[in-house]
């Protein structure tokens, strides 16, 4: 046996005497602990916290905006789509806990908001948990990082609960063994309180700037973003959807927050409304000490790629792929008359919106519907016979031929995705002077000063009635667009209507209408159908206008006010299933 042992030992030595071959050199991986022991990597982690911000803009599937999911517009894919476009799926009411059409986004990031917002919250929590002990030499820098992470956490929470309703407050990363079954959905107020607290912490942070003044720091969160989030969140908290008893205190809190925001932002003209409404959306924010753009509070970096431009283009323009987002007649009807400042159309006599209630004192003429409207109309909508710049070379004007038989005509059947389905094309955001093959540099203006004015006006009107401050805020926004002041004799209800109309006009296509009609609980009035305008050119050169229903929709029921919690988590967390949002 000794001999055998010898042989065995020899063989073992021959084969296995070197360093253990299973010990493979590490390949440069980090741990979270490593990250916060390095200043550069700590900063890099803050970039990671930022990286869950969605694309917004024309970032939904096939370069759609979110807008066609509201009564603002109609997507030209509808009727043509062969795959699974956002709009086509949405309007037939295919939203379910297991299928959210808005998460389809071939050309964008973080389209699955539920997942990406929770990822952002966790990353913010990891950052906040470690930042105090992180190796960052400069205390001011460290404090600023902390403030940014707090705002980011508030931002992700806010965007999350805006869509899904109240969610458990998560202020530190979960431990691996955490028992998720203990989680309960709180009240909306509790979620809002958490957002407000994060915003307040940031607002009181002396190391956070009120605005970014260096190009390299462009689009990092400033104190102003905290004000904007707080203003919007408290407004929603006071709105009918989340304020069942119409608690005036909630409106007062919202008004106070927006007022404080306005005070802080407009001190020394740090923020001020841009003078040119149309051009404002065509240019990126600039980050210098004395910037051209003082309106933008937060712009998501990254402009529209060329393909997104070509997918939201008028038909006759070279390189057009789709008409894309086409403003609806409902949006067009919401613009006031410039001279009188009065609404042109105040409502509809019929359910199909084919019989408009024309406000005769406004000066609106049904035979010439596009004359004399709010200048923001011309900045937002391409209508028939509007002069399109640069269609045949720089400076050459081209009157759009949306009338039947024209080069940009509406084609109802068979629907063509290259032609409008409403009689209008999108002008806002799309720089007509640039070719369809060029990307555009302007980013998505997520928060801007005008919204805060409107937030304030709405909250203050509800809290205190149409007081002077409400008028002042409204008129500030209207005057920038060279619109006259509101009449001074408006009742609270009339003022509410004017404020809602003002939001519809001022914030068109900016992903506000979709949420506003939900928090106002008016989906059943706005989302059953959209109409368009069929235009015929007469022999004498004049046009005849005929309204028509371009599409009936099936996503207006009460359950569509709040998105269902996705089926995954609804089946993983008992309370999410027991307290699933109503109707789902």
């Amino acid at each position: 046996m000794k001999k055998i042992a010898c042989i065995v030992a020899l063989v073992v030595m021959a084969i296995g005497c070197k360093k253990n071959p299973l010990d493979i050199t590490p390949d440069g991986r980090l741990t979270i602990k490593d990250v916060f022991e390095s200043e550069i990597q700590t900063e890099a982690f803050l970039n990671t916290v930022y990286s869950s911000i969605p694309s917004y803009f024309a970032g939904y599937s096939w370069y759609s905006f979110l807008s066609p999911l509201s009564d603002e517009s109609q997507d030209s894919d509808v009727g043509n789509e062969v795959g699974s476009g956002v709009t086509g799926r949405w309007i037939v009411g295919s939203l379910t806990p297991s299928d959210d059409p808005t998460t389809f986004g071939s050309a964008s990031v973080n389209t699955d908001h539920y997942t990406s917002f929770w990822t952002g919250i966790r990353n913010a929590n990891v950052f906040l948990q470690n930042i105090d002990n992180a190796k960052v030499s400069d205390a001011v820098k460290k404090s600023r990082f902390k403030g940014e992470a707090q705002i980011l956490r508030a931002f992700y929470y806010w965007e999350l609960i805006k869509k899904y309703g109240p969610m458990p407050v998560v202020d530190k990363p979960f431990d691996p063994g955490f028992d998720y079954s203990v989680l309960k959905r709180p009240t909306f107020q509790v979620s809002i309180d958490f957002i407000v607290k994060n915003c307040d912490d940031a607002i009181s942070n002396p190391d956070l700037p009120i605005r970014i003044t260096q190009a390299s720091e462009g689009s990092r969160f400033s104190k102003a973003v905290a004000y904007a989030i707080k203003s919007e969140a408290l407004l929603y908290n006071a709105s009918p959807l989340w304020n069942h008893g119409n608690d005036a205190a909630k409106w007062a809190a919202a008004a106070a927050a927006s007022k404080a925001a306005l005070t802080a932002l407009t001190t020394a003209n740090e923020y001020i409304l841009a003078t040119d409404y149309e051009n404002y959306f065509l240019n990126p924010a600039d980050f210098v000490t004395a910037p051209r753009d003082r309106e933008t509070i937060y712009e998501r970096p990254g402009g529209l790629p060329a393909i997104a431009v070509a997918n939201n283009s008028i038909t006759a323009k070279t390189g057009a792929l789709r008409a894309g987002t086409s403003p609806s007649q409902e949006l067009v009807d919401s613009y006031d008359m410039k001279v009188t400042g009065e609404p042109a159309i105040t409502g509809y006599l019929d359910a199909d919106h084919l019989l408009p209630i024309i406000n005769t004192v406004s000066g609106y003429k049904e035979t010439d519907p596009y004359a004399g409207r709010d200048p923001r109309f011309y900045a937002t909508v391409w209508h028939n016979n509007a002069n399109y710049d640069n269609i045949a070379g720089a400076g050459k004007l081209y009157p759009l031929q949306i009338y039947s038989g024209g080069a940009d005509q509406l084609i109802r059947t068979p629907p063509s995705k290259r032609n409008t389905h409403t009689g209008y094309y999108l002008r806002k955001f799309i720089n007509s002077k640039l070719a369809n093959t060029l990307a555009q540099t302007a980013g998505w203006k997520k928060y801007r000063l005008a919204e805060i004015y409107l937030n304030y006006a709405e909250a203050e009107n509800e809290a205190s009635g149409p007081v002077a401050a409400v008028h002042a805020a409204m008129n500030t926004v209207r005057n920038r667009a060279t619109m006259p002041n509101l009449p001074t004799n408006l009742t609270k209800d009339a003022m509410r209507e004017r404020i809602r109309r003002e939001r519809q006009v001022e914030l068109a296509i900016e992903e506000h209408r979709f949420w506003d009609v939900r928090r106002w609980k008016i989906l059943d009035r706005t989302d059953k159908l959209v109409t368009g305008m069929d235009i015929t050119k007469n022999a004498n050169g004049t046009f005849t206008y005929q309204r028509f229903v371009t599409e009936r929709r099936n996503a207006w029921q009460d359950k569509f006010r709040i998105f269902p919690i996705p089926i995954g988590d609804a089946s993983r967390i008992p309370d999410f299933s027991n307290n699933q949002n109503p109707g789902w």
Binding site: K3, I4, V11, V12, A14, I15, G16, P21, L22, D23, I24, T25, D27, G28, R29, L30, T31, I32, D34, Q41, E43, A44, F45, L46, N47, T48, Y50, S51, G79, N80, E81, V82, S84, G88, W90, V92, S94, T96, P101, T115, W118, T119, G120, R122, V170, P176, Y180, R220, P301, T413, P414, P566, I567, G568, D569, A570, S571, R572, I573, Q580
Partner: protein
């Protein structure tokens, strides 16, 4: 000690039958002390003049002059007296008689073997006995049941030393005594005993093949074992069966042959004809494929020349795979290549030519049917039809083919038949010192697609493969053997260029060919430019095939193993050690030559009807642009064996300890390393009771230090009932064995990333802000699971082997496997935790149960000299169930609250089609079909509202059938020989298998139409009661193209996989051309298929989704000739 080598370069064929003698002599060595072997050259007459010379010197002289080899014991020769001799041109006999006169030694001369054995003169008692019997110079012939001579049969005299082997003609010569018992034994035949009678010196022995041959040796892990003693579940086939198939890919030839092995071919593309192999179905959600060992080393199977293969064995249960420890859980495929064995050198030349065609190919409708069907779709959508009545009439009558063509794209782009040729030459032989098998092979497989002639480059799909192998065994001295196995493969796979991506270029050619309607003119304009239509503007298949450039993949694969085997009988009998070193390298080099080409679209002027062609898009003609990429991998493997094999009376003991280290480097990754020890202990008592213990103790770098090594034991036993007294001479039950095994085996091939026990957090570029962290961000790709372990399979197997009447042989195996520790995503951790599923550490908590059985029934009968029949039927079944999948329970309003837990791996889920909607009223009073974002219209599927909530949505998804890995497979092989003719066939089939033929071209109506689209739902047809084979067709989205019972279909099939018909030339004829045998044969692959698919456009075996547009399976007709020299 003097060592003479057996190796005589240049004269390998000088010593017929030496091999057997050597075998005998080795036996001799084992039972005596040290013996010396002396090999010689040759001469006819012997001249010698010596005085008082030592006998060994004399022997040396005789050896050199005569060419005869001497075998003797070194100790023995020392007893010899000195020899004085003086002869000139004497015969060998003369000389020997003189030399051995008066010696204490005798010699035995076998002229057949040219060997002389020197023995001690018999002891007086035996000498006395032998004196009583007369010596007989016996001549004999050994034949099989058909009367064919059997070469290489061992002929021994019972209880005496010595023996001979039969030569090529089955003849032998032996000096025997009356009353001696001759024992004739040969692998695969029943041993025959013959008592030598006086007066007979010319005998013919007929040997019968033995179905339950107890001496048959089978390949097991890291060795061989007598089949009778095997206690585990294994199955194997031999080269003969493999070679009945002309398939280019070896893996294809295994389908239906081995009970327990499922082989599924997913593409027929030359050089990319992927075949997935499963042993006993699916046991895990991670890597399911078995490991493949070629001559003991993990190597690829597909490229091997079938002529190189001796056998393929699959190891199925824990007993046979535990020795592979952490790698054996999915079963093991052992490929053994041929080695030289015949002392008669054999040269084999084979030449084969095959005509190949597709088994199935999408068959689109003609242009008239296309136009009418497209119009119907548009009318269904409420749109204006595209084609006017006049245009349709043109398509129907074909009176204006320029403007209204009926283009048969299949005919333009594909060939009816293409050629495959295969040549093989191998030489094998064995002398005492050296055995060799040398093989060279060449395969060229042509394209099934037509290519333009006169192109400056070759874009055709084709494969050329060159193989060589050289397996050499050398007996260095009587205790030391060396083996050298070297093989190489060079593959050149050619095809048209297509941008590299997830699918091979053939996918696009097939897909776009299927998508291009017959109304598209083409393929070329009168100027020779590529024509296309507006829908496929960028992807005309003709252009992809011919004008887009080419790509060529060169793969080279070199494998080499060197083995030394040292007997340690001097330490203790039966002990030996062996060491093996292997170095393999594989490199691939893909070369792209891409080219832009212009696409034109035909325009018919609406007024003049003039035809013109306009450039379809901005793509212009460009010269070839060259690029490429390469891959490389290398493997080294070191193995050290200690083997023990000894029989003490009734106790047979074997033992094996194996140390193994392997390092595999793939491209530029850190190496994949293994280290481990494996062992096997077997014990047999009286050839009736057998017990085995197998264990692997090994580890891999996949796991954390301290967690790396695992111990995987298995125990097994067998009872050879037929060796018991009560059955020993039973004429009916000729073999009966029961066996059972239980053990644990591991699987460390965890899907995806490496080092999953570590966090994978890295610095990544393109952070949100350039002002933070140098513009970088931290990417949390995944978090580690420090407790990461391998999967553990607990396997039980019970087997029964029954042989009846020496004709029927039944093997039944029943198995049960429970695999736990399966690494899976944490499905119940909510998204709310903030780490996406892919980032959360995976945990070892999945559990899968897998049960089944295999039945193999063989029937073999030699009816007479001219007629024999062999039938092999096998059936296997494996059903798996996921017992734990960490899947959240869906809410109670879901018809099925789980999608995995409790279901088969990969079981498809979808909606259940109830019927077609008849009209609008029908839709409005039916549950709302909230599926896929498309409103239902008449003619669309009415799906079942399984949960009765008034809505059809994801809550109504139900399990539909089985996964795309079949649960059942059967094979039936038939082999019939009649005189010089032989006929064999293989029928193979699968069932309990479903495929999802989804909305891609050919199944979906978006681009082009096939037959069943012309039989779609219309109100009229529905009213008339005409058979409806497809829902309402549309040009838009519809609720129909979803996973549902219409598109997820039963893909069971039965195939006539192979037929072979052969004729062997009569020996006298083949001799005339100097050959030992000539066989001419014809065989075929995939000749007929019967299936249940609703369409004949696809082969049921080729996979689902995108893959149903893979290069289709090939049918082959092959003729070949095999010549032996």
């Amino acid at each position: 000690m003097k060592i003479y080598t057996f190796f005589k370069p240049g004269q390998p064929n000088r010593t017929l039958n030496k091999f057997l003698l050597v075998m005998k002599m080795i036996l001799f060595f084992l039972t005596s002390a040290i013996l010396q072997v002396n090999a010689s050259s040759y001469a006819q007459k012997i001249s010698l003049n010596r005085t008082n010379a030592p006998l060994d010197e004399i022997i040396n002289e005789i050896r050199e002059q005569s060419g005869y080899d001497f075998f003797y014991n070194l100790q023995l020769i020392k007893k010899a007296r000195p020899v004085t001799i003086n002869v000139k041109d004497a015969s060998l006999d003369e000389v020997l008689i003189k030399c051995f006169d008066n010696q204490p030694l005798i010699y035995v001369l076998t002229t057949e073997n040219k060997a002389i054995v020197i023995k001690e003169k018999l002891q007086p008692v035996i000498a006395k006995v032998s004196d009583n019997f007369a010596e007989i110079d016996l001549r004999g012939k050994v034949v099989d049941e058909k009367g064919e001579p059997l070469p290489g049969v061992s002929v021994k005299i019972k209880n005496k030393a010595g023996g001979v082997g039969t030569n090529i003609n089955g003849n032998f010569k032996l000096i025997v005594e009356t009353g001696d018992v001759l024992v004739f034994s040969f692998v695969g035949f029943k041993t025959v005993e013959y008592v030598v009678a006086s007066g007979r010196n010319d005998i013919t022995i007929s040997m019968a093949e033995d179905l339950a041959n107890l001496d048959e040796v089978v390949v097991v892990a890291y060795g061989t074992q007598k089949k009778a003693t095997v206690t585990g579940a294994i199955a194997s086939i031999q080269t003969k069966e493999i070679k009945q198939s002309p398939a280019a890919n070896l893996a294809v030839t295994l389908a239906g042959r081995l009970p327990g092995l499922t082989a599924i071919q997913r593409s027929g593309e030359p050089g990319a004809d992927v075949t997935n192999l499963y042993i006993r179905g699916q046991g895990t959600t991670n890597a399911q494929s078995p490991i493949v060992l070629v001559d003991g080393i993990e190597r690829e199977l597909t490229y091997i020349d079938p002529n190189e293969i001796e056998s393929v064995t699959i190891l199925k249960d824990a007993s046979s795979t535990a020795i592979f420890g952490v790698r054996g859980a999915n079963g093991v495929i052992l490929v053994t290549t041929k080695r030289g064995s015949s002392e008669i050198p054999e040269i084999n030349f084979t030449s084969e030519s095959s005509a190949q065609s597709f088994t199935r190919l999408i068959t689109p409708v003609n242009s008239y049917e296309f136009a009418t069907t497209r119009n119907l779709a548009q009318i269904n959508d409420g749109l204006t039809p595209t084609y006017s009545a006049a245009e349709i009439e043109h398509y129907r009558t074909q009176d204006d083919p320029l403007r209204y063509p009926d283009t048969d794209w299949r005919d333009i782009l594909t060939k009816k038949y293409s050629l495959q040729q295969r040549y093989n030459l191998n030489v094998s032989g064995a002398s005492k010192a050296v055995k060799y098998f040398v093989n060279v092979g060449q395969l060229s497989q042509g394209s099934q697609f037509k290519n333009e002639e006169n192109l400056a480059y070759d874009p055709s799909y084709n494969l050329k493969r060159y193989n060589f192998r050289s397996n050499i065994d050398i007996q260095l001295n009587k205790t030391l053997k060396a083996y050298l196995n070297v093989s190489g493969t060079l593959e050149k796979q050619n095809g048209p260029f297509y941008p590299p991506g997830s699918s091979p270029s053939s996918f696009f050619v097939i897909a776009y060919m299927a998508a291009q309607g017959a109304t598209t003119p083409g393929p070329l304009t009168p100027d020779g430019q590529v024509l296309t239509n507006t829908i496929l503007a960028t992807a005309p298949p003709y252009g992809i095939l011919n004008r887009s450039g080419y790509q060529r993949l060169n793969r080279t694969n070199i494998t080499a193993s060197y083995i030394m085997d040292q007997s340690l009988d001097f330490l203790t009998k039966g002990l030996s050690v062996k060491a093996m070193a292997s170095f393999d390298t594989r490199s691939g080099n893909i070369f792209y030559a891409s080219k832009g080409f212009e696409r034109y679209i035909m325009v018919i002027d609406p007024v003049t009807q003039n035809v013109s062609y306009k450039l379809g898009n901005g793509i212009l003609e460009t010269p070839l642009a060259i690029s490429g990429s390469n891959s490389y991998s290398s493997l080294y493997n070191l193995q050290g064996f200690v083997n023990y094999n000894r029989t003490f009376n009734k106790h047979a003991v074997t033992g094996l300890i194996l140390f193994q280290q392997q390092s595999n480097i793939i491209d530029v990754q850190l190496p994949f390393n293994y280290l481990g020890v494996a062992s096997r202990l077997t014990y047999g008592f009286n050839n009736k009771y057998f017990a085995e213990f197998n264990a692997g103790y090994n580890g891999s770098e996949q796991f954390r230090k301290g967690n790396r090594y695992g111990f995987f034991p298995a125990v097994s036993g067998a009872w050879l009932v037929s060796n018991e007294k009560f059955l020993e001479n039973n004429k009916v039950i000729t073999n009966l064995k029961v066996r059972g095994s239980y053990g644990e085996v591991g699987n460390d091939r965890l899907s995806g990333a490496r080092f999953q026990y570590l966090d994978n957090i890295a610095i990544a570029a393109s952070g949100y802000s350039a002002s933070l962290g140098n513009g970088q961000r931290i990417n949390i790709a995944s978090l580690g699971n420090p407790d990461l372990r391998w999967e553990v399979a607990k396997k039980t197997n019970v087997g029964l082997e029954l042989g009846i009447l020496n004709s029927f042989n039944l093997v039944v195996d029943v198995f049960n496997e429970k695999r736990d520790n399966i690494l899976r995503n944490q499905g119940t951790v909510p998204v709310l935790n903030g780490l996406p599923l892919g980032v959360l550490p995976k945990l070892n908590f999945g559990v899968v149960e897998n049960k089944g059985y295999e039945i193999e029934l063989n029937f073999r009968k030699v009816f007479n000299k001219n007629f024999s029949l062999l039938t092999k039927l096998n059936l296997n079944h494996a059903r798996n169930k996921q017992l734990f999948a960490d899947e959240p329970l869906l809410p109670a309003d879901y018809a099925y609250q789980y999608r995995q837990t409790g279901y088969q791996i990969g079981a498809p889920f979808g909606l259940i089609v109830d019927r077609y909607f008849t009209d609008v009223a029908d839709i409005s009073k039916s549950p709302k079909q909230n599926v896929g974002g498309h409103e239902s219209r008449p003619g669309d599927f009415k799906y079942k509202d399984l949960n009765n909530d008034g809505f059809v949505d994801a809550r109504d998804y139900a399990p539909i059938g089985y996964s795309n890995i079949p649960e059942n497979q059967f094979g039936g092989a038939f082999n019939l020989t009649f005189k010089n003719f032989d006929l064999s066939a293989l029928v193979q089939g699968v069932s309990h298998v479903y495929q999802y033929f989804n909305q891609l071209y050919g199944t979906w109506e978006g681009f082009n139409y096939v037959k069943r689209h012309t039989q779609s739902w219309t109100a009229e047809r529905a009213l008339n009661g005409t058979e409806i084979k497809y829902p309402r067709i549309t040009t838009q989205g519809s609720p129909n193209n979803l996973p549902n019972t219409f598109f997820i279909v039963d893909a069971s099939y039965i195939r006539l996989k192979n037929v072979e018909f052969g004729y062997s030339l009569p020996t006298n004829l083949s001799r005339k051309i100097g050959s030992k045998g000539v066989r001419i044969y014809a065989n075929g692959l995939n000749l007929f298929t019967w299936d249940k698919l609703p369409t004949e456009d696809f082969d049921p075996e080729v996979g689902s989704s995108r893959d149903n547009l893979a290069y289709p399976m090939l049918r082959m007709y092959n003729v070949g000739v095999n010549v032996k020299f």
